[in-house]
Amino acid sequence: MKRTISLTVNGDLHELAVEPRRTLLEVLRDDLGLTGTKRGCSTGDCGACTVLLDGSAVNSCLVLAVDAHGREVLTIEGLAEGSQLHPIQDAFLEHGGLQCGYCTPGMILSAKALLDENPHPTAEEVKVAIAGNLCRCTGYTKIVESILAAAEKISGAGVS
């Protein structure tokens, strides 16, 4: 039996009829076409599907879509303003924080959740924040550097 939910995704309100067993990841990708959120394991182990739910980083594969009813979701597609990349996105590019890019959307959103809460994190705090986001390409060094550089840029420019 489908249930109707309303979901604000990247600022847009969507009314959707979903089966209760479907995950937020499936609804974002399959119903809303927001394929920037990646499916890596569907068991909450890799973090590739990380989105912000009311500002907190969650594995969208572990959230039932019906539990997101009435809440706000930010996906990677909602981060840049038009062609203006978010400073975290800029920093990942500039500091080589990505290779294949499959973990990148989730990694960037975990970083955003951290920096929203803690604008001046230490490297250790960055590592804790992205401990649930696996990356097989980079060895993480440049990801941590990217996030620290973004923090500096954001606090310098007053961007949020």
């Binding site: 990708r29 927001l34 394929t35 920037g36 959120t37 990646k38 499916r39 890596g40 394991c41 569907s42 068991t43 182990d45 890799c46 590739a48 996906t75 990677i76 597609e77 981060l79 840049a80 990349l85 996105q89 990942f92 590019l93 500039e94 080589g96 990505l98 290779q99 294949c100 890019g101 499959y102 973990c103 990148t104 959307p105 960037i108 590592k127 804790v128 992205i130 401990a131 649930g132 986001n133 696996l134 990356c135 097989r136 390409c137 980079t138 060895g139 993480y140 060094t141 440049k142 990801i143 941590v144």
Partner: protein, 766 residues
């Protein structure tokens, strides 16, 4: 001031914006009209006769569009020796073997349909140990391979026995390595679609596109020309997406049967079960040396635990053999490598391709030898290091070579003299490597085609056979084209993802893309530039040879103020009677050879070298090892994009660290026990040690701008460097990977017992 305009700059990934904004399209992001979802029913047992398959209930389920077994698709063999088939009909030989498949309107329906297929198996005795498999009376994985040896690699040069007899010191050890999964973040996936005329398009993250096409055509019984391979963004591979796998053929068969597009996407569990792992090896190795440390002989026998079929991994001994014959100067070498079938997951190609296994053994044993000789491990390595101009016993011709420099650099960065030999559960270790760096001729051609096109807008398109897997090849390719043409980097786009468009390439493997595609691009660009200059010369009233270009402008040397843009020059060539387009092509096939029957031959146009040094702290109470940091120096010929190189080093070290310390597919009675990322333990950001990437430039005489390949190298020597550091810290030697706390603790306890008994051996390295 650099002699280059673009080369040597830290350039962000050209495909990066799409990837940080979520706009890059991976195969799983593609939805075609009428698309169905495929699922595969896999064998739960390691060795069995298939007695019966009943698909009738599955076929009746609403939403199911096709259920197929081997009876419904070609049974053609594929893989080396054609020992594998897409769907199995008589026998299954390992857990995960494909027995039936379903296409349905959605994934849940397909999954439900699988549960309705009834298969009766008659279990057969199975064999899991590659040594037992060779004994008389062992169950046979393939009837035609008596004693289960699929094939062997044998090499012999010099007089190994004689050298060992005359040596001052001989060491002999057995090492073991484990199964690992490559674990790309994007699981394996395939989308196949036929048009009305029977033309097949396959969207697939594969980096062997033309070989994939050939495999598909041959197995499915189609003309090659009907198969088009499109490579969407690839979410990592590390070698695992090079093989054409049963699921690819099955996906295509389902699309053929239903007349609709079909997508098969692996679950993560399936990725562990059915993506090709790195094969375990048992390595028996003897090394002999003179008192002064001069190496005299190396005698190696490797058993490669191949699993049930010959995927590309059956050839991993190719790379293992090269390290055995050619890492350091060794005048007498014997190598025997047996590829042995077992009823287990079958190995594929994973970053380093047999080299991490061999280098773990060789480089661990170099330290054992050093200890026995009473020589500093660094000194032993430097004394025997390969030098430019050397030709090794396997006919490997070494040109540029930064091996000695890499040893010295990592030793300095890890603080060798302060930390080595101090004991007290803290230590440092070093290990080095050799790998192909200028292609690897494992096929009749080692070539790659490039097309460089300069259009009327001044925009430059590089169409290249090789593939971007995340490693950054597109970016480096654009940089090389920009450098050669004197163009702005932002004017260049790279197209590399469609066999209908791109020229032939033997695939992105063997760390070959930068070297081979780079040479192809460089030479195609030279020709395009010549044509462009000829067009510009008339307008600038100069001779073509007097012109130069910079930032996409052409001008007479020394007079940059009067110029034509690339667009103006291209238009001058095009917009006239008898005009022409500017399109140049080059197919670069490097000066290397296939191995001959004795396994001799200079298989690569150049070789890559490097060294890692690790610092560790060991907790003697728990056996836990803290790898504090790793210095990793790599001879890259020339650093084309230092940021990309550092990234390759850091990522490779992290993978090497996982190989050394945490990762193992635990296979019990043929069944993989840890099929989730949580249980398997890919290193997280909190696990990976601090990594100090060091770039060594040796300017290769034939590589593009002096560069050579290195993508795999950074994974190769990490494990032995750590094992050597653990020995330095504790005096215990771990000879099987991964180095778990349990193994360290057990070894520490055994060492304690031994020293209590008063027999030889102590806790602390002298």
């Amino acid at each position: 001031m650099s002699e280059f305009n673009v080369i040597g700059r830290r350039v962000p990934k050209q495909d990066g914006v799409a990837r940080v904004t979520g706009r890059a399209v991976y195969t799983d992001d593609i939805k075609l009209p009428q698309m169905l979802h495929g699922r595969i029913l896999r064998s739960p047992v390691p060795h069995a006769r298939i007695v019966s398959i009943d698909t009738s209930k599955a076929k009746q389920l609403a939403g199911v569009k096709a259920v197929i077994t081997a009876a419904d698709m070609p049974r053609s063999g594929f893989g080396y020796g054609k020992d594998n088939s897409p769907l199995k009909w008589e026998k299954v030989r390992c857990v995960g073997d494909e027995v039936a498949a379903v296409a349905a309107i959605d994934d849940n329906t397909a999954e439900e349909a699988l549960s309705l297929i009834q298969i009766e198996y008659e279990q057969l005795p199975a064999v899991y140990d590659p040594e037992e498999a060779q004994r008389e009376g062992a169950p046979l994985v393939h009837e035609r391979s008596k004693n289960n040896v699929s094939f062997s690699w044998t090499f012999n040069k010099g007089d190994v026995e004689g050298a060992i007899a005359e040596a001052d010191v001989v060491v002999e050890d057995r090492f073991r390595t484990q199964y690992i999964n490559a674990c790309p973040l994007e699981p394996h996936i395939c989308l196949a679609s036929f048009d009305q005329a029977g033309n097949l398009a396959v969207w697939v993250p594969i980096h062997f596109a033309f070989m994939f096409r050939k495999d598909v055509a041959e197995v499915m019984g189609m003309p090659w020309s009907k198969v088009r391979v499109i490579q969407p963004a690839i979410g990592g591979s590390f070698g695992s997406k090079i093989d054409t796998e049963p699921f690819h053929f099955i996906c295509i068969a389902l699309a053929q049967k239903t007349g609709r597009p079909v997508k098969i996407a692996f679950t993560r569990e399936e990725e562990f079960l059915a993506a090709r792992p790195r094969q375990p090896m048992i390595l028996d190795i003897r090394m002999a040396a003179k008192k002064d440390g001069t190496l005299l002989a190396r005698d190696v026998h490797i058993i490669s635990d191949n699993g049930a079929y010959n995927a590309w991994g059956s050839h991993a001994l190719f790379a293992a053999m090269m390290s055995v014959t050619s890492l350091y100067r060794v005048p007498n070498v014997r190598f025997v490598g047996d590829v042995v079938y077992t009823n287990k997951p079958y190995g594929g190609s994973v970053r380093g391709f047999g080299n991490p296994q061999a280098t773990f053994a060789i480089e661990s044993q170099m330290d054992i030898l050093a200890q026995k000789l009473g020589i500093d491990p660094l000194e032993l390595r430097l004394k025997n290091a390969n030098q430019p101009g050397d030709v090794t016993v396997q006919d490997v011709k070494i040109t540029s070579c930064g091996l000695a420099e890499s040893i010295e650099k990592v030793a300095q960065r890890i603080g060798w003299s302060e930390h080595h030999g101090k004991g007290g559960n803290r230590g440092v270790g070093v290990a080095s490597l050799i790998h192909v760096g200028g292609g690897a001729r494992i096929y009749k051609s080692d070539g790659c085609g490039a097309i460089v096109k300069i259009d009327d807008g001044g925009d430059i398109t590089v169409i290249i056979g090789s593939s971007e897997l995340g490693q950054g090849s597109e970016t480096v390719q654009a940089m090389m084209a920009a450098e050669e043409l004197g163009a702005r980097l932002e004017d260049i786009r790279v197209i590399n993802s469609d066999t209908a468009i791109k020229p032939w390439d033997v695939g992105s493997h063997a760390s070959r893309s930068t070297f081979i595609s780079g040479m192809a691009i460089k030479r195609a660009a030279e020709q395009a530039k010549k044509q462009l200059f000829e067009a510009a010369a008339q307008k600038l009233e100069a001779r073509p040879e007097d012109l130069e270009s910079l930032d996409s402008k052409i001008f007479v040397k020394g007079s940059p103020d009067r110029f034509l843009t690339f667009g103006q020059a291209a238009r001058a060539d095009l917009l006239r009677t008898g005009g022409d387009v500017i399109v140049a092509k080059y197919f670069y096939d490097p000066p290397n050879v296939e191995l001959d029957r004795g396994f001799f031959g200079n298989v690569s146009a150049t070789y890559a070298f490097g060294s890692h040094a690790a610092e560790v702290k060991v907790d003697p109470e728990t056996g836990a090892v803290d790898v504090v940091r790793i210095a990793a120096a790599h001879d890259v010929g020339r650093a084309l994009n230092p940021m990309g190189l550092e990234a390759q080093i850091e990522g490779g070290v992290a993978m090497g660290f996982g190989y050394a310390m945490t990762e193992e597919l635990q296979v019990k009675n043929g069944v993989i026990q840890n099929v989730s990322l949580l249980d398997y333990r890919v290193p997280t950001v909190q696990d990976v040690p601090a990594i100090d990437p060091i770039i060594i430039e040796t300017i290769d005489p034939i590589g593009p701008f002096g560069a050579k390949g290195m993508g795999e190298c950074s994974t190769v020597p990490t494990a032995p460097a750590i094992a050597n550091a653990i020995y330095d810290a504790t005096g215990v030697r771990i000879k099987d990977l991964p180095i778990t706390p349990e193994k360290v603790l057990r070894a520490l306890e055994e060492a304690k017992e031994t020293s209590k008994d008063g027999s030889e051996g102590g806790l602390i390295d002298e």
